[in-house]
Symmetry: none
Subunit: 407 residues, 2 copies
């Protein structure tokens, strides 16, 4: 038995003026999705809970059947794992941006979004040791990277130094209300981080990379902005042990790969899987079909990004593109069970995540043919009103792997 | 942003013979509600839980996002606050009826439902002190009032002296299974209450008010029936602090004002807001529109009372009346978001509250245009299947005030 678990990030939406008051999914000519829905089951999923706006990390944990209340360890953990860092228990990981700094001020939080030489700059600080804490630094894409602190007595009860706007630099802080040992650990952690920032600034300021950047007319990279602290404080039971399914991850974005890695998925690096609208959808679907695992998580990011950018028509067109590729490969013949949904809504009118329910569909073994369709409003006519945590147990029963409760 | 939170008490119903087997809401020509529903979202709300019959107090606490398991302190608390008594922590409050008593028997539990002179009679006992406990007595309307005991070591683990039928008087009791200090406190409390009843009887028996009542052919007021003990054992975080919205209450009934007062709402006293079918709906809606708070709770009681009286046609007609007034004031142009529902069902065939789900509608910012309508059965085609506790988080996200959980 082989399951396709297809998540179009931020799929759900709200009515949009540019689409005649339809949502992108309602507006899209997504005939293939609608065919699957007509021959299968539909419903609405409230990812975490009513009114709770999910992050993509908490949402995916829940979709894979891991309660984020227990397993959300902070964004940095999933970013670092997704970047390919082999985290150990006790490691503190933070998402990093390189920035342009001058006279106590951040001039650009992303150093012009240009990644030239940034890989080398991260390498220069990788392996540093500060007060017994080892620094692991890894560049990912453009101005982005990950910083991991490896040592004793680290705490994630801190707030990073990213001011989230240009202007005056911001110091690290410890979270309010900490006491005793926890407070000591947090103070120690921000002390190490302050020293790291100072070192980074010195090492990068007059670096030859910056001279080359200057020649190219690029902004200087001489500061590090850190956020999303996460501590690998414990490790979960693997997805395979928990659900009895070998899992594969086909995703462009580091965060999704990281969540999957955290749960022990096999991560495929698909050529051309970029996590944006230019991603090579055909390659991703091919890899999904060819994967030998029996649970294939296929993640598509651009629906969310287009929601954040408020591009409703483009979101509709991108859904059509996904629909076409899936149709071309006749995925309904390749998998025994198909689940399609989003991790949350990202309404174009809000340009942010929202708690609005997301439509879902099941197609394949042991499914009914219900009255719903695969849109935000018509899915309400279908079988399900569920939370994300309900999905894996439903899949298990459809695969006839669920245990009977009672006799 | 301004929200109208409209609750028609006991709105939900069951099919009724006199309405061609329709419910009052299905039968009513409530075109305006249906227009809002068509352009917004609908659903069904199970107030507390499946099969749990809500009281109006517990239902409203839940609707405002306060779990009644934690915040239902007993009816008396909300009655007393609604009557305008400034309760202090530790106060024990009870709902009071004045009654007609003779030779150990209650002849009329409501002294003929006539409030003549009752205000003065309450004043006569207000301020009494019994065993170090101060008595606060306040008349509200007709035969109704509130008694508050202020002192140390009071307990709400008691049963009142209202026999709930005419005939032999009933003594106060302590609840079963009490032990130690809690039992002592309950015994002390009913001792004070017994002495209060004795004093009341003596003070009222030959009072000049009763002579005047006799002349008018009214029943004697010489007894006090107490029920619904509530102890202000703790104070909640205010609605404004909890949800970040300044709240206004526009209601006729004391209980609703009391719940709102408990949570720190600004209470408007609207001329003509009587809490019955003759209430001045236009004034209430005007006040709602003019209120400066950004969360306006507008409560309409008569739907519930007509349910209790089994008057299905009148209930339908009253819903039409509300619909007409809202239409006249074009409230959809006055608020950014409108939520309409009931606090529970009060089916005319049952003449009591029931746990049957209540239809709901959302109209305004960040709402979809779903397939449901604003009736008990058609709301099932809509987006939501929720509990009352889910409503405020949903509203917050629609107002774009919800915090993201994760990244």
């Amino acid at each position: 038995m082989k399951v396709l678990f297809l998540i179009m990030d931020g799929l759900g939406d709200l009515p949009n003026q540019v689409l005649d008051k339809k949502t992108p999914l309602e507006f899209a000519k997504a005939h293939y999705f609608k065919k699957l829905a007509k021959d299968g089951e539909t419903g609405l999923m409230t990812t975490i809970d009513y009114g709770v706006v999910p992050g993509s990390d908490t949402a995916h944990l829940a979709l894979f059947g891991y309660d984020p209340k227990e397993w959300y360890l902070g964004r940095g953990v999933y970013e670092a794992l997704g970047a390919g860092i082999e985290l150990r228990e006790g490691d503190l990981a933070l998402r990093a941006n390189v920035a342009t700094f001058k006279n106590g001020k951040i001039l650009d939080r992303r150093a012009g979004r240009n990644g030239f030489g940034v890989k080398e700059l991260f390498k220069e600080i990788n392996g540093l040791e500060i007060d017994g804490v080892k620094i692991i630094a890894k560049h990912t894409v453009e101005h982005r990277g990950v910083i991991v602190l490896r040592g004793k007595d680290l705490s994630k009860e801190i707030v990073g130094n990213d001011p989230h706007k240009i202007g005056k630099i911001k110091d690290f802080e410890i979270k309010k209300g900490l006491k005793g040992k926890e407070k000591e650990k947090a103070l120690f952690t921000i002390d190490v981080l302050r020293k790291l920032i100072e070192t980074v600034n010195k090492k990068w300021e007059n670096n030859s990379i910056n001279k080359e950047r200057e020649k190219k007319g690029l902004k200087k990279v001489n500061y590090l902005l850190l956020r999303g602290p996460g501590l690998l404080s414990k490790k979960p039971l693997s997805f395979e042990k928990k659900w009895g399914l070998k899992a594969a991850c086909i995703a462009g974005g580091a965060l999704y790969k990281g969540v999957a890695k955290f749960l022990g998925f096999n991560i495929y690096d698909v050529p051309g899987a970029t996590g944006d609208t230019h991603t090579n959808l055909e390659n991703k679907v091919k890899y999904a079909i060819e994967a030998r695992e029996n649970f294939v998580f296929l993640h598509i990011k651009a629906t969310d990004s287009l929601g954040h950018d408020g591009k409703a028509l483009e979101k509709a067109r991108f859904i059509e593109k996904v629909d076409n590729v899936l149709k071309k490969f006749e995925i309904h013949k390749e998998f025994d069970l198909i689940f399609v949904s989003g991790d949350h809504s990202t309404p174009c009118v809000k340009r942010e995540h929202s708690s609005d329910p997301v439509p879902l569909l099941f197609y394949g073994v042991n499914t009914r043919k219900d009255l719903g369709n695969f849109t935000e409003t018509e899915a309400a006519l279908g079988t399900y009103r569920v939370k994300a945590l309900d999905i894996l147990p439903i899949i298990l029963d459809k695969l006839e792997l669920a245990k009977k409760y009672g006799a």
